[in-house]
């Protein structure tokens, strides 16, 4: 009986710690990797009410602020993953080549254990995305890993710009083309995107005309029919939604650059972009950004001609680049993925760490809030045992909005927030890790639709 009480108390205390949304923490005496303002040895970082209040030496605080001794430890801004599919219950609406109206933020799931595991890898913000089954997929959501909250609304990073997933190449052509629906080729992908943009332009014009006419006296007229899909694509054309475009090959990258130019779209982030290095000058010239794997290749034909030097070539050619995971396992060691750019291309520590902090923040349009340790920014911090670019480092503590969400020393093993009351403890034990979340749902649906053999 006593035992039960103690355990219950432990669980309650975790929950109540998390219930506090904006925390106050003083991190003392760490090696502070600010990313944007250099590395500050033996420096304190004070977080007040969830925001970084002060960075400096010998900061003192009242006793109510929790003090973390970071002597000998490394303090860096929380890691940002610009490509993830964690924290959502639906990834691909793979039934139509254009599904701009769907929004993965409608299916947030704060209970996924992978969110906690990402925290245990120093990650604090993720861009959780629609999959890559469609040329124009759904809208994505930027969330903070406030693991412990139960209300899905609390995961959202409020005020983060809207983003949408596009996809070029094999995935959309495989899912739709094999069912006899355009696109079946990269040519078709271009057509689908241009067609959607053109229709959205028409739609915008019809509304503009209607709205303009409406202001005139004695107006009699019929409004165009509301269409959420075209409305969303129109928002892209209005510059209100950032495109994150799943892409691999040089030719399709150039195609998409041209499409953007033709439709006056300024901001585009290419995702994966394994052959980005081949068209780095073109990407840089148009201000397009790239979010890449450190070294993934060969998992299909369109990534066969990849190189692990991609991030370095892009960076050195002036393309704003980040390293992402697209995978709940890889997500846990993005610091290590960033370090690979030092082997493959000799990036400096700051350049390498920028790939997983300030650069993805810029790509998501949230760099005013996160991505570096600067006063005024969100209190999102990852504390490492060794330098985060060392293979031997271990994330020790991860803080989101000043709230400690991961603590290697005190967290219990079982960090599930919910337990299935029907779970058969024996039978449900083991899970094999599946890659290629980008095609989750799509693989199932594609099999359903087209009796396709699209195994990994």
């Amino acid at each position: 009986m006593i035992r039960i009480t103690i355990l219950t108390l432990a669980i309650v205390s975790i929950v109540s710690a998390h219930a506090q949304e904006r925390g106050n923490v003083l991190i003392k005496n760490g090696n502070v990797l600010t990313i944007t303002k250099g590395t500050l040895p033996e420096t304190d970082v004070l977080i007040r009410d969830g925001k970084i209040a002060q960075v400096g030496k010998n900061i003192t605080v009242a006793t109510d602020v929790r003090v973390i001794d970071a002597s000998g430890l490394f303090v860096m801004p929380g890691i940002i993953d610009a490509h993830s599919h964690s924290g959502i219950d639906a990834i691909n609406e793979a039934t139509n080549p254009v599904t701009a109206e769907v929004f993965v933020g409608d299916a947030l799931n704060p209970f996924q254990i992978e969110l906690y595991r990402a925290l245990a890898g120093g990650v604090t913000t993720i861009h959780t995305m629609h999959g890559s089954a469609n040329a124009i997929g759904g809208q994505c959501e930027t969330i903070k890993l406030r693991y412990g909250v139960k209300d899905p609304e609390l995961l959202r990073m409020k005020d983060a710009p809207r983003t949408i997933k596009f996809a070029l190449g094999e995935n959309p052509t495989r899912v739709h083309g094999s069912g006899g629906i355009v696109p079946k080729t990269r040519m078709g992908v271009e057509f689908v995107i241009r067609q959607a943009f053109s229709k959205a332009q028409e739609y915008m014009m019809e509304w503009d005309e209607y709205n303009k006419a409406k202001t005139q006296k004695g107006f009699r007229g019929t409004p165009p029919v509301y269409n959420l899909r075209l409305e969303t694509i129109a928002d892209i054309l209005r510059g209100e939604v950032i495109i994150h475009c799943h892409s691999y090959r040089a030719d399709e990258l150039q195609m998409m650059l041209k499409v953007c130019k033709d439709f006056s779209i300024d901001k585009i982030v290419f995702q994966h972009v394994n052959e980005g290095f081949k068209v780095a000058p073109e990407l840089a010239a148009q201000g397009a950004m790239a979010s890449v794997f450190s070294d993934w290749w060969a998992y299909k034909l369109e990534v066969y001609y990849s190189t692990a030097y991609n991030a370095a070539i892009l960076t050195k050619n002036g393309v704003l680049t980040s390293i992402n995971s697209d995978d709940e396992e890889l997500m846990r060691h993005l610091y290590h993925e960033a370090a690979k750019t030092q082997k493959y291309g000799d990036l400096t520590d700051d350049e390498a760490l920028s790939l997983i902090t300030i650069n993805p923040a810029k790509q998501l349009g949230i760099d005013k809030r996160v991505g570096s340790i600067e006063p005024g920014k969100d209190g999102d911090i990852a504390i490492f045992q060794n330098h985060p670019l060392s293979i031997y480092t271990v994330p020790m503590m991860t803080i989101v909005d000043g709230v400690i969400r991961f603590d290697a020393k005190t967290d219990p093993d079982d960090m599930r927030l919910v337990v299935d009351p029907k779970q058969d403890i024996e039978a449900s034990a083991y899970t094999e890790h599946k890659h290629d979340r980008c095609m989750e749902n799509a693989i199932l649906s594609a099999e359903h639709f087209f009796d396709l053999n699209v195994g990994e």
Partner: protein, 567 residues
């Protein structure tokens, strides 16, 4: 159970139609109507409303209404008297969300792939909000009687379909024609976050997007119709769109959206949608709502909690054998602290589910119950579990009577035993929530349904087939057919036995004989080419024959058997 009907004509016609063809052969038994439509329940303990036990008294019903209640209520001369000396009378229960009494359409499982999965017809996409559940109400549905036998007299029923199946109605379980069952039509606009199969919307995110779009289009169409109605000159005639029109009362907030949202995240998603669009919301069949209480409160949503609960082994009867097994596995668990901790978390989870109703009560959120996903046989047990977890009996009764009546806007007609209300009553032999309470009578709309105690079902299941005696068993394997003789004899509760035959030098004793219902398993070991081989037999016994398999060393053979006639 006896069955009476007020509506003679319907019964007569039905009987006539049905029996016309066979009438030549046999004179069928016909239901006779009761001699009066007035009833008086005398000297029963009357729980007039939750918390209001008015003690012993009479309840008088006439023509479907309650006409008098209390100690001094006088039974009229034409009343059929029901002696309530040992009975407890409650207002009839109301089910907030169910498909009891609704026919399930035949499912078309076409394997053909959709030609254009991205642009399906509305009905393929699950978009049929213009449907009305009344067209699929069927008085013959067995579920009506199953739940009426528990005391349910009225229910909000919803149609089958996709994410927008149509409008709900409130019906009475009075066993009349479909039209006469309906108490209130279009009581709500029903929806579930269920994706369509193989076509758009194939995910919950597309369902929500489509919801949003349809709502916005309906809003637009409704406004336009208004403009058009006021002055048609110079305007295109609005298209006739039944789907969008179905949203109009939702937009006007004249009917609520009833959302099935059993999972916590669904509850939250629905509330987010409600926050965005502003319709009035009723959440149905909630199973994991405790964490959503703040959102439910701020959304002003009304709530029906599910009567379904996750199984709790503590409340399940255990056969003797399992108890023994359980013991050993408990010992294993003790050795494994990880498993112990997992079991404990699971138990805590079950407890949280069970305490959901109590949690809502404590938070001051009014709620009714719904039976959309509960088995009838679990209802009373689950109510008792909820009460054991902190819900008071009065709160439980309120959630079955006054609360749903209020949520459905029927407090003037349902929910309590008061003069003028519809004659829906439940009569039980013990206080309803006590362990062995049995419903004796249910009145719906003044129609009486009487329930006789059933035989103890345990007796039925425990009568396994008798296998004692000698059987001739034929085994077919690649080497040929073999006939053996197997003899079973009963030792108390278990069996012993042996096998003999040409392949055996002496009788071999059977091991692990296990007989559950008709399923018989046993094994034996033989010697073949100097090696011992274990044979496992698994057969089904049908009277004096048996059939099944024998397996050994990874091979499985068919066996059949016949019981030898007794000598």
């Amino acid at each position: 159970m006896q069955f009476y009907s007020r509506n003679l004509l319907v019964v007569f016609l039905l009987c006539f139609c049905f029996f016309a063809s066979v009438a030549q052969n046999k004179q069928e038994e016909r239901e006779l109507p009761p001699v009066s439509s007035t009833y008086a329940i005398t000297n029963a303990i009357i729980i007039q409303s939750p918390g209001k036990n008015i003690g012993r008294g009479n309840v008088v019903l006439k023509d479907g209404l309650i006409v008098a209640v209390g100690k001094n209520a006088v039974a009229p001369a034409d009343a059929i008297l029901i002696n309530g000396d040992s009975l407890y009378v409650y207002a009839g229960f109301i089910d907030g969300l169910t498909r009891n009494g609704v026919s399930k359409p035949k499912e078309e499982t076409s394997k053909e792939r959709p030609k254009d999965p991205g642009n399906p017809l509305p009905e393929q996409a699950g978009i049929t909000p213009q449907q009305d559940v009344r067209s699929t109400i069927n008085p013959e549905e067995k579920s009506i009687n199953e739940f009426r036998a528990l005391g349910f007299t009225a229910a909000q029923v919803v149609p089958y379909g996709g994410f927008l199946p149509g409008t709900a109605s409130i019906i009475l379980f009075n066993d009349e024609s479909a039209t006469d069952m309906v108490l209130a039509e279009q009581s709500s606009f029903f929806s579930e976050l269920v994706p369509a199969q193989r076509v758009y919307p194939n995910t919950v995110i597309a369902v929500i997007a489509k919801w949003r779009e349809l709502y916005a289009q309906a809003l637009q169409a409704k406004n336009y119709e208004k403009v058009y109605a006021s002055n048609r000159s110079g305007l295109t005639r609005p298209a006739d769109n039944q789907i969008l029109e179905a949203f109009y009362p939702v937009i006007a907030r004249s009917i609520p959206v009833l959302f099935e949202a059993d999972k916590y995240l669904e509850t939250q998603r629905v509330i987010s949608l409600q926050n965005e669009l502003g319709f009035s919301l009723v959440l149905g069949d909630i199973k994991e709502g405790w964490n959503a209480i703040p959102s439910i409160r701020s959304a002003g949503a009304k709530v029906f909690l599910s009567l379904d609960l996750p199984e709790d082994k503590k409340f399940e009867p255990k056969p003797e054998k399992e108890k023994e097994k359980k013991k050993t596995s408990d010992e294993d668990a003790k050795k494994d602290p990880e498993k112990e901790a997992l079991e404990k978390r699971k138990e805590e989870a079950i407890q949280t589910y069970t305490a959901q109703a109590a949690t809502f009560s404590k938070a001051g959120i009014p709620f009714g119950f719904s039976t959309l996903s509960v088995k009838a046989t679990d209802v009373q047990k689950n109510l008792r579990r909820m009460i054991a977890a902190g819900l008071t009996e009065d709160q439980a009764l309120a959630a079955l009577t006054t609360m749903p009546a209020a949520i459905l806007g029927l407090s003037d007609r349902l929910g309590t035993i008061e003069t003028g209300k519809i004659a829906n009553l439940v009569l039980s032999d013990k206080p309803y929530f006590s362990e062995k309470a049995k419903v004796k009578y249910v009145f719906v709309d003044g129609v009486m349904f009487k329930y006789e105690p059933k035989d103890d079902p345990k007796k039925e299941t425990s009568t396994s087939v008798d296998i004692s005696g000698t059987w001739t068993i034929t085994t077919e394997n690649p080497d040929g057919k073999f006939e053996d003789q197997v003899t079973f004899s009963k030792d108390g509760n278990s069996f012993s036995g042996s096998i003999t035959g040409a392949r055996f030098s002496e009788a071999v004793n059977l091991e692990n004989i296990e007989l559950i219902d008709k399923q018989l398993k046993f094994s034996y070991t033989t010697q073949a080419e100097g090696q011992s081989m274990k044979v496992d037999v698994d057969v089904t016994v049908e009277g004096d024959t048996l059939k099944g398999t024998a397996s050994s060393a990874g091979k499985t053979f068919t066996i059949t058997g016949k019981k030898n006639p007794k000598k």
